[in-house]
Structures are given as structure tokens and as C-alpha cells.
Amino acid sequence: MGFSAPDIALPKAEPGQFFMFGVKNCEKDPLLKRPFCYFRRRGNTLEILYRVVGKMTSIMKGLRPGDEVEVLGPLGNVYPMAQAVCKTPLVIAGGVGIASVYPLIERFKGSAILFYGGRSKKEILLRKELRAISKKLVVATDDGSMGFKGTAVDAARDFLNGRNPDDFVLYSCGPNGMLKAASALGIQGYIASEEKMACGIGVCLGCAVKTKEGYKRACKDGPVFKTGEIIFD
């Protein structure tokens, strides 16, 4: 599912960043904007990729070309990419976390290895495009309906067997369980949190992520954190 909004001010978004997205409504319901990753840019439109899970995303689904929306951003920090010059980017994405790493993989111009997991075949999006922009794509589904049966992290672990983890730099975005497992693979790199947000700009402290240096804000100090920085419960 793709969505595009006219890019009036032409903000330049970088991989890892996100937008707060809302619809105009006098009823104030939904009240807050919702965070969505910068997915890609096509000409004069910015695209986000989203899954319908609740109130706002259901409204988004009903939007038609020309409808007015409110978008704040780009917000948050960026995936550092310097290390990927001498190491192979190993990307692990789960569910809509693929939206976050998509522009990153594009930026790596075919050098990234992608492990992409979902519950079932239905959740795996953009397979053709992803194959085209990455060096290698491994799809993993929990039910085995497509590709590797298991999680994307399981698939990555298999792949790493016999390889030197220091040859790779990790980039991962997905549910917390995945980020925790990916962090335990022993590869240094970066993970992007998808903690619930209210303001997206660092003032509400709602999006707290527990780190070695105390709570940090996913929206302002993140969403990208170094592996090992976040403490998972």
C-alpha cells in the first residue's frame, strides 16, 4: 500500500527519518498525528508505506487524490551510512519496518543484503522492487508461506554461520522483539525504534526508549540508535 502527498516545500528527507501525518478534522478525533517513515520520493511526491491498523490508518485508506492532509517533518535522526563503505550492509526488516529501510537500501545501490520478515506471504510487500535494489533478498515468514520458515533474524543467523560478523554493519527496523533479537546477532550497527509517539518533536516524552544512559526520546534522539544502546525488557 503506497501513499503519496504533494511535496510543496520539497523537504529533503533522509533514510531513517519520519513524518507526523494527520488529517484535518474539527472533531479532534483522531487527535494526534501519527508517525510514518520516510519511504521514498518519486518526482514531486513523498511516499509513505503504511498498514491499516486503526483509526488514522483507516481514514488514510479512504483518502483520495486531492484530499488535504497535514504533514510535519522530516523528523528524527538518520541511519549513519559511513561504515557501509568498507562493510556489507546487512538489513533486517519486519512488517512495515520495511518502509524505514527501503530508502537506505536504495542508497546502498545494490550492496545491501536484506532479510525481510512477516507473519505470512500476505505481509511481504514490494518483493520485486526490493530484489532489484538489493544485492540479496531473503524473505522469511512465520508460517512458511513464503521463503524461509521462521523470523528474519533466524534467517540472518543462518546466513552468518561461518561468516565474520565484523564484515557486516547491521541496519534493522521492526517490532521490538525483532530489534532485540537482531541486536543479539553480534553485528555492530543501527536499529530504528517504532515506539508510540504523541508529538514527534521531543516535547511530550511519551516515546521513551530505555537506553544505557537512561530514557531517550525515539522521536528526537532517535528513531535510529546504535546496537547495544537500547535496553530491551
Binding site: 494527520g22 472533531e27 479532534k28 478525533d29 483522531p30 487527535l31 494526534l32 498525528k33 483509526k55 497535514e70 510535519l72 515506539e195 508510540k196 509517539m197 504523541a198 508529538c199 518533536i201 521531543g202 516535547v203 511530550c204 516524552l205 511519551g206 516515546c207 521513551a208 526508549v209 530505555k210 537512561g214 530514557y215 528526537k220 525488557d233
Partner: protein, 311 residues
Amino acid sequence: MPARENNNNKRLEVKLGRLKLKNPVMTASGTAGYGAELAEFFDLSKLGAIVLKGISLTPWQGNPTPRITETRCGMINSIGLQNVGLDAFLREKLPFVRQWDVPVIANILGTSAAEYTRLASALEEAGVDGIELNVSCPNVKEGGIAFGLDLKSFASLVRAVRARVKKPVLIVKLSPGAPGIEEFSRAAEGEGADAISLINTIPAMAIDVNTRRPLIKNRIGGLSGPAIKPIAVRMVYQASKAVKIPVIGMGGITTGEDAVEFMLAGATAVAVGTATFMDPMAVLKVVQGIGAWMERHGIKKASSITGAMLT
């Protein structure tokens, strides 16, 4: 053009005790951080005042996540008064926000009267323009709520802090759970507060019926946003009837009209909170909205709206 702007500034001016505000709109504590984030969006000197995130003597970690959940026309939060503590505040945060020509109001919280008075003294010395006593945070046991719910300890706390604070205006933020908002307002006034502010968030809860789990980790949090506005307007009305000192009204303000409603009920100034989460520019839009309302209604001075409800 500048002349007109000056004019406008004067039109919107209100006073909180000795403190003059360019306009009646301030940020609500805990919705503007220490100013740095909002400064990326607009010129802070356009605010009536900036009320900063509550600070305690030592840093507080805050509550586990999830800390926030949206409910119909509102949100519940349980941040747990996470803050950097007094020292870091004075060293890193206060100097930044002082760069703007805007009154700075520090919000303080403690677990004992001694902590409140130490904070107040340190902040007076640091030159803040106002101190808001937070005795009403529902999210941590230590958040002073005990002071907010018991009239005697409330009065003695206000007295103790008042004895220390000379220059900055002293604002006391009331708990919506206070048994008898009039008595608490009068007690604050009697003990020498320069203004009272209300309402803080209202204790609330929400459960995900599919997972059967509470939607915030702490189970109970504070409800804010448009959902609580009618309650807040009522309490501001009652408080302002009970006292002569100015009342700062807040609770679900998202537009200039909302702000005017609070002022008609008796508020001298208003604070914008949750709306900033919806839109970082919300506070300024409320300032503009009040101006536009005044224009439409031929009102020359914002201060004349206070308590001007017709019956």
C-alpha cells in the same frame, strides 16, 4: 507595520500580579520541554510566557512505556515527571530559554516542603520570572499530589514557598481532584500566591479489549485534550469566583475560541498543552485566534474578556 504590531501587542497584554505578559497565552508545563524544541518552530518571544517542564531537585527517570495512549478527543499520559533535575536545568536548560524576550516560568515538584523551598530559592536566584508549584501531578506518588489533595498541607506548602520567593510571581497549580476547588483556591490566595493555574490532567484509564491489557504501562495516567475542556472551564469559573488573584486556565485548549471561553469563565491567561502535541505551532495559533475573535467582537483589550461571560 511595526506600529500596528505594537498596537496589537498592547491589545493583547495581560498581567499576572507584577508580571506583564504580551498576550494571555503560555505553554502548559510538560508540553514545551525546556523551550529548545519549540524554538525550532517559532520565535519564543511571541508567547505570553513559557512554562517549562517540571523540575525536581535530583533527576527523575520517569515511568516505563507505553506512556501515552490516545482516547476519544483526548490522550492519557503517564510520563512520570521525567526531568533532568535542578543542577542540569540551571546549567544547560535555563540559559538557552533566557535568550528570548519572554517571561520564563519554572514548574517545580518535590516530595517535601523542604524540597519545594530549596528549588524555589535556587530558581529565584537564577532569575526566573515565575515559579509554578506543581502539587497536582497524578502520575507519581511523590509528585506532590498529597499536597494537592489535603488542604492543610497544601496551605502550609504554599506558605513555606511564599516565604522564600520574593521576586518571581508564585503560581500554584491546583489538582482537579482537590476536594473543593474554591477552598483550595482561597487557601492559595490566603497564603500569598500571586496566581493559580488549573486544571492539571484528570486521572484516567483505558484498556485494549483485544489484548485485555491496559493501554499505558502504569495503568492509570492523566487525561488531557479537548475531552476535558468543559470540566476545566467549570473549575476555572469556580476558582475565579472564589479569589481575586488571576487564574490561568487550561485543559483542552486548541483554538483561540477555546481560550476566549476560559477567559469568559474568569481566566486572566490561558495555557496550551496537548494542542502542541497535535501541532507545534498551536500556541501561536491560539494567540492569533484570540486576536481575531477580539476583532470580530470589537473588543479592544484582552484583559476585558476576563470574567465577561453574560448571564
